[in-house]
Structures are given as C-alpha cells and as structure tokens.
C-alpha cells in the first residue's frame, strides 16, 4: 500500500495530481501544516504560477523547513512544474527569490529567441520529447524508468532550471534548438518540469514509479 502526501499551499490544481496517484491505488493525503509535512512518507510538491507566489505560499504556512527536513531524512520528494523549480536554490523570476535549495542550481527565463535568433513562443506550451542527459542512454534507476527516450510529455513553463551539477540532470528536452532541463534528480529528490499527471501514458509511468517508491 502506497501513501502519498500532496503539499497544498493554495497554488495548484491538486485534483489532477491526486487522481493520477489514485489511478495506481495510492492513498492520497494533503498537507497544509508543518505537522502534516513531517508525518508524510512521500511528498509531492505541485505548483502552477510564479516562483515568488509559490515560495511565499510555503513560507506563510511554515512549510519550508519541514520540507527540507523530510527531504534530508530521505523521504521521497517529487516536485512538479513550479514545484520542481522551487527545489533549486534561486530564481530570477520577478527579481531574485530563494528556493528550497535541495538541488544546487538556479531557475532562469527561457530565451525569447531560438538558436538561429528567430523569435520563439514563451511559455513553452505543448508536448515535447524526453531525452537522457549526459552519458546515460536510458532512464533506468530513476522515476523515468518506464519512459523510453524520445517519448513525449506535456510542458507549460516560461522558466527553466539549470542544475549546477551535471549528475543532477536527469532528462532534457529541446526547445528552440536548445537543450533545457526536463527533469532533475538528487538522491531521493526528483523534479519534473513537465506535468506527469497531464502527459498520458508516459506521464503515468512517472506517477507509478513514485507511488512504488512511496511503498518503502
């Protein structure tokens, strides 16, 4: 039996994430208080919107330290979209904002032109392929285990994460000729820039793997 706790800080469509985990028989709880975060066995940090609003939402509920503690204690943590970006150290969205600092790196605006200097649409909205980063040829041993390189998932974002260490980069996608971070991982902490709960069968693979990790 798998139990997943979704952090509810007022900034997201939690229903779709909840439904995706329930699809695999997981019990879904919601955490709005430090105690609820501290008692979680697996944490999901969703999020849509601006980095500042997200961090302020966590701050107001006193959830920043409890999330850091749980992640430090080895509890599986999955950040989705803005939730993934907040795993990093800082963002340049609307000035300078500090993140959770669980994965070294920063969050920057996607350039408004492609590698050939043509204007490109920002945000990236739509389906794009997941590619292994670095020297890996597949996603084995990660939450992307069931995903074949090249399979597509759904993205909606204006900012991209830049992990400091290559080994934290799990998957990339190509937008405007550039490789951008699609997923990052550091130990028990994984972040998906795409929406696994909105990416059909491929996204559900990620949800399933996390639900499995939450069984331990």
């Amino acid at each position: 039996m798998s139990e997943v706790t979704i952090i509810d800080y007022g900034l997201s469509n939690l229903l779709s994430v909840q439904r995706a985990f329930e699809h695999f028989g997981a019990t879904v709880k919601f955490a709005k208080t430090p105690e609820e975060v501290r008692s979680a066995r697996a944490l999901v940090l969703p999020g849509v919107g601006a980095f500042r609003d997200g961090m302020e939402g966590l701050q107001k509920l006193g959830l920043i330290e409890p999330i850091r503690e749980r992640a430090g204690a080895g509890v599986p943590l999955l950040g989705i979209c803005l939730g993934m970006q907040m795993l990093f150290e800082e963002s340049e969205e609307f000035g300078h904002w500090e993140g959770l600092g669980l994965i070294p790196g920063r969050v920057v605006k996607i350039p408004d032109h492609d590698t050939e200097s043509n204007p490109q649409r920002v945000p990236q909205v739509g389906w794009n392929a997941l590619l292994p980063a670095g020297t890996e040829s597949d996603f084995d041993g990660s939450l992307l285990e069931g995903v074949r390189p090249g399979e597509e998932v759904y993205f909606v974002h204006s900012y991209e994460a830049k992990p400091t260490h290559k080994e934290d980069l799990l998957a990339q996608t190509i937008y405007g000729g550039r490789r951008i971070c699609a997923a990052a991982r550091r130990g028990n902490v994984t972040g998906c820039q795409f929406h696994p709960e909105k990416s059909g069968r491929v996204g559900l693979c990620v949800i399933r793997e996390f639900a499995r990790a939450a069984e331990l």
């Binding site: 699809h23 649409r121 739509g126």
Partner: protein
C-alpha cells in the same frame, strides 16, 4: 512556430449530453461526453476541449460533473469553455480539473477579464475564444458571441491582437460559417489570425478530413480541434495522426 501540431477533441455539451450541431445550431444528442473523451484519450488525442454550449445563454456552466469524472481517467490537458464570466467561475473550473479556460462572451463584454484571469492564473490558462463569421458587406470577419447568435462589431483579427495584449495565451478560433459542415476549414481566416498573433491559434470548424487539418497546419494553426469527424466515427485519432504524418505534418505519436 511550433513544429508539431496538437490534435484536440472538441466536445460540445448540453445538459450532460455530448451534442453536435451545424453552424452552432440544430443540435443532435450523441451520448455521454465522458465516454467519448476517454476513447479519444486512449487513442492518442493531445487535449480535450469541453464547451457548455448553452451556458452563456443561461449564465451558468454545467460541466462540473463531467469534468470531475473526466479527471478520474483522462490524463491530458483539459480546456473548459461556455458561460465562464468571473474569476470565481475560472477558479472553480480549474479546481475541478480544468487546465485552461476558453472565454468568449464575457471577454467581449469586459475585455479586462482577460487580464485578470492571466494575472491570477497565468496566460497559459487564458484561452480567448473567438467565433468568426465572414462579413457579407465588407472584407474580413466579425466576432460573434452567445454561441454565434450575437454580433459584436469587432473585427476578428484586431480583437485577437488586442486579446493577446490583454493577456490571452492562446486563441481558439471557430469559423461559424464552416462549423459542422465538414466541407473544409476557413483557411484564409486561420492565416489572417495566425500571422498576426504571437500565441498559438487553435483552429476549429469545418474539418471534414485529414487534408483539411493538414491545410490548417500549413496556414499557421498550432492546433486543430475536431468534433464531427471523431464523434460520427468518420475517423479515429490514431488514423488521423498517421495520415497527417504522411502529409508532412508533425504530431505527437
């Protein structure tokens, strides 16, 4: 320009039934919208678009039940439209599982609503829906509302440009003249709007086969929303995608 086009299933709903009309009139009941959405999802559709087609006439949106059921087993982006008038309506729709909202009538009556929605929830979830009819007495198209019944006096291309400036992240462009006929899309309309706005244009109305979808893509549509073609089983999602690829149009496989 996005290199891949999205194929969207457009489901018009009236009182819990999937319906389909011609030029937005003369509705026929087809069945349970959720069953259709699920079938298209399993067959590879990229997004679902639900439109409550009588909502704006009665100032209500009746999709919450269908939306809740759909989120149980359809895991792709869902857009909801019809009768959404306020930020509260939008918040409710998003809370029930919608990822984006399509707004027509309320945006024409209060264009600042576009900005309020975009600021509160992001441009990516604010889809400006435009129902376009060709002008009889002049060049161009005029924007209609209340399901194609009322004319606004607004020029479609100008309204689309203004909508984007106000914060719309996508344009859902319906050709009322072609809608439901399956005799081809208004390619001039698609080109006129897509060439003037920097955001994705979802073209809809009149697609009778894969050639019409390919033509819309070539005119600059980032997505094509189809209804009769799928609802009457004239084509399948997988079949359409296969044929699009043969015609050099890239899609998600």
């Amino acid at each position: 320009m996005a290199d891949k086009i999205r194929l969207i299933a457009r489901l018009e709903v009236k009182n819990d039934y999937l319906v389909k009309g011609i030029q937005l009139e003369g509705l026929r009941k087809l069945g349970d919208p959720h069953d259709f959405a699920k079938e298209y999802y399993e067959d590879g559709i990229d997004e679902i678009l639900y439109l409550d087609i009588v909502a704006s006439l009665y100032n209500r949106n009746n999709l919450s039940y269908i939306l809740r059921r759909t989120t149980e087993d359809v895991f792709i982006p869902i857009t909801v439209g019809g009768g959404l008038r306020t930020l509260e309506d939008v918040q409710k729709a998003l809370g029930q599982g919608a990822d984006k909202v399509a707004i027509n009538t309320a945006a024409i009556k209060d264009p600042q609503l576009i900005t309020r929605v975009a600021q509160a929830y992001g441009s990516q979830c604010m889809v400006l829906s435009i129902q376009a009819k060709r002008r009889r007495d002049a060049a161009g198209w005029e924007a209609y509302y209340d399901n194609g019944r009322e004319h606004s006096g607004l020029d479609v291309v100008e309204w689309a440009k203004r909508g984007v400036k106000l914060g719309a992240g996508e344009i859902l462009l319906t050709s009322v003249d072609r809608e439901g006929l399956g005799r081809g899309m208004d390619e001039e309309l698609i080109e006129a709007v897509a060439s003037e706005v920097p955001v994705p244009v979802i073209a809809t109305g009149g697609a009778g086969g894969v050639d019409d979808i390919a033509a819309a893509a070539k005119k600059g549509a980032s997505a094509v929303a189809v209804s009769s073609l799928l609802h009457y089983h004239r084509a399948t999602v997988a079949g359409l995608k296969e044929e699009l690829v043969k015609r050099g149009v890239k899609v998600r496989r």
